[in-house]
Amino acid sequence: MNGIKTRLKALPPVSWMLVLIIVIFSLASPNYFSLSNFRNILIQATPLMIVAFAQTCIILTQGTDLSLGAQVSFVTVMIVYLAKKGVPLFASMIIAVLLTVLIGTVNGTIVAKGNILPFIATFGMQNIVNSISLLLTSGSSIYYPSYTYRFVAESTFLFVPMMVWICALMFILVWIVLRKTKFGTNIRGLGGNREALALAGISPVKNLIKTYAFAGFIAGIAGIITLCRVESGQPTVASGWEFQAVAATLLGGTSLREGKGGVTGTIFGVLLITIVKNGLNIIGIRSIYQNAIIGSIVLTAIIVDAIIRIRSKE
C-alpha cells in the first residue's frame, strides 16, 4: 500500500490534470471518449513529443533551445529541396538530419565556448534557420509526394501506428542516454554543478556541445516524421514548437534548475497540451482562443507545482 502511495505521489501534478481534463472533455462531448480519438491524439502528439524529448535534455543543462522548431521545419524543407534536385529521398533525410546535428553543434559551441545565455544564442539560430528555410522554398510550402511517407504516417504495427512506435523508440533512446550512459550523467551534471564535472576531469564545454548536437539529432528525426505527415516542405510548419516543448518539459516536472527531472514526465506534459488542443477542437472552440487556454493551463500547472514545492518546504 505504502509503495503505491509514494509512487502516486511521485507522479508529476500534470498527470492528475491530464485525468481531470479527459473527464471534462468526455462530459462536454459525446464523441470525445473513443478509441479512434485517442489514437488520433497519440498521432498528433508524436512530432511535438520528440521535439520535447530534445528540449528536456537541453533544459536539464539549465538551458533552452529556441531553434528546435526551426530545425524541424528546416528538415522538411531540406529533404524536399534535395529530393527535387534528384537526391534519393532516403539520402536526403540523412543529409537533413546531419545538418540539424551541425546546427546543434554550432548552438552548443556558441553557448559553451562563448558562455552566452542559451536562449539568446538559440534565438539567433532560430532566425537564421527560418530564413534559410524560407529562402529555399521562396516562402511557400512545396508539395512532394512519396510512398515512403505512408509507411511512417499511415501503417501500423501490432495495431499501433508506426509513428507512435518511432516516438517510443526515441523515448527509449533518450531515456537510456540519460539514465545509462556517462553522457547522460554529464548532462545532469551540467545543470547540477558544472564545477563538480570539471573537478572530476570532465569537460563541461565538450559535453554541452554534445548535448545541443544530440538535441539537433532528435529534432531532425522529428522533422522526418513531420514531413511524412504533411507530405511537403513547409518552412513554418513547426514554428512555436520550441516553446510548447519547453512548456511540456516544465509541466512534466523537469526543473530549470539543478538538473532535476527527466524525460518520462515530459510525455505527460506533451499529452496534456495535445489533449487540450484536440478537445478544444472537438467541442468547437475557435482556434484564436486555444492559445490563451493552453497558456493558462501551462501557468496553472507550474503554479500548482510551485505551491506544492513551497508547502513541502514548510
Partner: protein, 502 residues
C-alpha cells in the same frame, strides 16, 4: 612516521594584483596529518590547488615520491593519487549518491551502459567503511543533509584509492559528533599510510588529529612545527602576526530595556516548538544548540523568511507580524545569515554595491543616486572594517571568506538596525577576522543595539554572550546568565541531558 611522499619547493603564485604564494616550501610524509593554517587570504587554498594541479605555479616545483610533478588539471593529480575533499561541495544534486561517488569512473556493463548495480554495491561498501551505512545510496544527494553530503564527498575521495588527501575545512558543515567520526576516519587513513593535508581554522581540532602544522601568512610560510611544540597562543600570534592576548572581547554594558520578545513561537516544519525569548538593548544573547536544534529556523522565523504557525513577536513592546524580510528590515531588524554566499551578498557585484544595498533609501531619500557618495561610504567601510581588497569596486566573489563576511557587516552597519541577528557569524573565517567581528559586536552592544547570536561554536557563545538560551530539538531548554554557566553545563543541555536538579 613514514617517508616523505610530497614535497613542494619554493612555490610562488602570482594573481593579478597580489602575490598569493611567495616561495613557500611544504612537505608531507606518508601517514601523517599536516595541518595548514593561516588567515583567509594567507594562501592555504592556493597552495592546495597548486598541489592538485588546478593552478600552475609561477615558480618552484612539486615532487611526488621523488619525481617532479607535471600536472595540468585535476585529472593528472587524481591519476597520481592526489585527491581533495573540498569545502564547497562538488556533488551533483540530482544524481544518486553512488553516481556522484563514481562520477567519471562509472562502472560499465559489457554493452557499455552504466552498471548501476555494481556502482551501488561498491558505494555501499565504501560508505560502510566510513560507518555511514545509513545513507541511502540510491537517493539523489539533494535529499541528504549537509553532513551526509560531506560524508559522500569523503567517500568519493576515498574511492580514488588516494595516496594523498587534501581536506579543505571538512568540519565546517559537521556537528561535533560527526566531526569526531570524521577524525576517527582520518586516523584510519593515517594507519594506511595515506598522507593528509588538513586545512582548517578550528584550533581545538588540531591536537586531536594533527602531527605537524604549517603556518602561512600573507603568502609566506611562517613556520612548520610539531603539534605539541607550540601553544594555541603562539600559533595565533604566528597566524595573525601580532600578539593577541584575548580572543573574546566583551565589555559589560547596562541593559536598556526590551528590544525583542517572542512568545510561544512555532513554525510549520516543527523545527521550532513554542520558543519564548527576550532580547534587551545593549545585550548580546547567545543561542546554543546542536546543528538541527532549530536555532537557524528560529532566526528565520523572527526575520520573516519562513511563516509563523503560532506565537507572537514583539519589537520594542509592539507586536509585529514577521511577514517577510522586508517587513523585518522596516522594523529595524538585520540578519547576518549563516550562508553569506546565498543570502548575504550579491557575489557578482562590487563591494560598494553590497555595502549600500540595504540602505539605498536611507542614503538617497531622493530619486537619484550619487556615485561619489557610494564610493565614500564604501571606502569608509573598507577602512573601518579593514576589508582586504584592492578597490571598493572589486566583485565580492573575489574576496576571501572573512572579507566577504565583513562586507555583509558593512551592509548592516550602514543601515544601522536596532536589532541584529548573527547566525554563525564566524563560520569559515580566520582568527584575525573573527576577533575583529567580536570587537564589532561588542561595540554595537555598547551603542545600545540588541544582538542575538546563533553559533555552533560553544567557546564563542560562552565568550561573547551576556545570556545564553539553549535549544534542543526545537525547544528552549535552558537559560542562563553570564558567569552562571560552564561549558560542560551548556554542552550537556544542548544534548538534551538534564543539569543537576533542574
Amino acid at each position: 612516521m613514514g617517508k616523505t611522499i610530497l614535497t613542494a619547493v619554493g612555490i610562488t603564485k602570482v594573481f593579478p594584483g597580489m602575490k598569493a604564494l611567495d616561495k613557500v616550501d611544504f612537505d608531507l610524509r606518508a601517514g601523517e596529518v599536516h595541518i595548514l593554517v593561516g588567515e583567509n587570504g594567507a594562501g592555504k587554498s592556493t597552495l592546495a590547488k597548486v598541489i592538485l594541479g588546478v593552478y600552475k605555479q609561477d615558480e618552484g616545483e612539486v615532487f611526488f615520491e621523488g619525481e617532479k610533478m607535471e600536472v595540468s588539471g585535476t585529472k593528472d593529480a587524481i591519476a597520481k593519487g592526489i585527491v581533495a575533499v573540498y569545502q564547497e561541495f562538488t556533488l551533483i544534486p540530482y544524481l544518486s549518491v553512488a553516481q556522484n561517488i563514481f562520477l567519471n569512473r562509472e562502472f560499465r556493463t559489457k554493452l557499455g551502459f552504466i552498471d548501476h548495480k555494481k556502482m551501488e554495491s561498491e558505494a555501499e561498501a565504501l560508505l560502510k567503511s566510513l560507518n555511514c551505512e545509513y545513507i541511502n545510496i540510491k537517493a539523489p544527494v539533494k535529499q541528504l543533509s549537509v553532513a551526509e553530503q560531506q560524508m559522500v564527498e569523503i567517500a568519493k575521495a576515498l574511492s580514488y584509492k588516494p595516496r594523498v588527501i587534501i581536506f579543505d575545512e571538512p568540519t565546517s558543515a559537521l556537528s561535533d559528533r560527526e566531526a569526531e567520526s570524521l577524525f576517527a576516519q582520518i586516523h584510519n587513513l593515517k594507519k594506511k599510510g595515506i598522507g593528509i593535508v588538513y586545512v582548517s581554522h578550528r584550533m581545538e581540532e588540531f591536537p586531536k588529529i594533527g602531527d605537524r602544522i604549517t603556518v602561512l601568512r600573507d603568502g609566506k610560510k611562517i613556520a612548520t612545527i610539531g603539534i605539541n611544540d607550540c601553544t594555541d597562543h603562539e600559533l595565533i600570534t604566528m597566524m595573525v602576526g601580532r600578539d593577541v592576548s584575548q580572543v573574546y572581547v566583551r565589555t559589560q554594558n547596562e541593559h536598556k530595556g526590551e528590544a525583542l520578545r517572542t512568545e510561544d513561537l512555532s513554525d510549520y516544519s516543527g523545527k521550532v516548538k513554542g520558543v519564548s525569548i527576550v532580547l534587551n538593548r545593549g545585550e548580546i544573547v547567545g543561542i546554543a544548540g546542536l546543528v538541527g536544534s532549530g536555532r537557524t529556523e528560529l532566526a528565520q522565523l523572527i526575520y520573516g523568511i519562513n511563516p509563523i504557525k503560532t506565537g507572537k513577536v514583539y519589537v520594542n513592546g509592539r507586536e509585529m507580524m514577521p511577514k517577510s524580510p522586508v517587513n523585518a528590515v522596516k522594523h529595524g531588524i538585520g540578519l547576518v545569515s549563516e550562508d553569506r554566499k546565498k543570502y548575504g551578498l550579491a557575489l557578482g557585484e562590487a563591494i560598494a554595491f553590497n555595502a549600500i544595498s540595504v540602505s539605498l533609501k536611507k542614503i538617497f531619500p531622493k530619486f537619484f543616486m550619487n556615485k561619489r557618495k557610494i564610493y565614500d561610504i564604501a571606502k569608509q567601510n573598507v577602512d573601518q572594517l579593514r576589508i582586504v581588497t584592492t578597490s571598493v569596486h572589486k566583485q565580492c566573489k573575489f574576496l576571501s571568506g572573512g572579507n566577504q563576511q565583513k562586507v555583509v557587516l558593512a551592509k548592516w552597519l550602514n543601515f544601522n538596525p536596532q536589532i541584529i541577528i548573527f547566525d554563525e557569524p564566524t563560520r569559515g573565517i580566520d582568527v584575525g577576522a573573527k576577533m575583529e567581528i567580536y570587537k564589532l559586536m561588542d561595540r554595537l552592544a555598547a551603542e545600545g543595539k540588541a544582538i542575538l547570536m546563533i553559533s555552533s561554536e560553544l567557546p564563542e557563545v560562552i565568550g561573547m554572550s551576556d545570556r545564553i538560551y539553549v535549544m534542543h530539538e526545537g525547544r528552549m531548554v535552558d537559560e542562563c546568565k553570564r558567569g552562571e554557566f560552564t561549558a560542560e553545563q551548556i554542552g550537556s543541555r544542548m544534548l538534551g541531558l538534564g543539569v543537576g536538579g533542574r
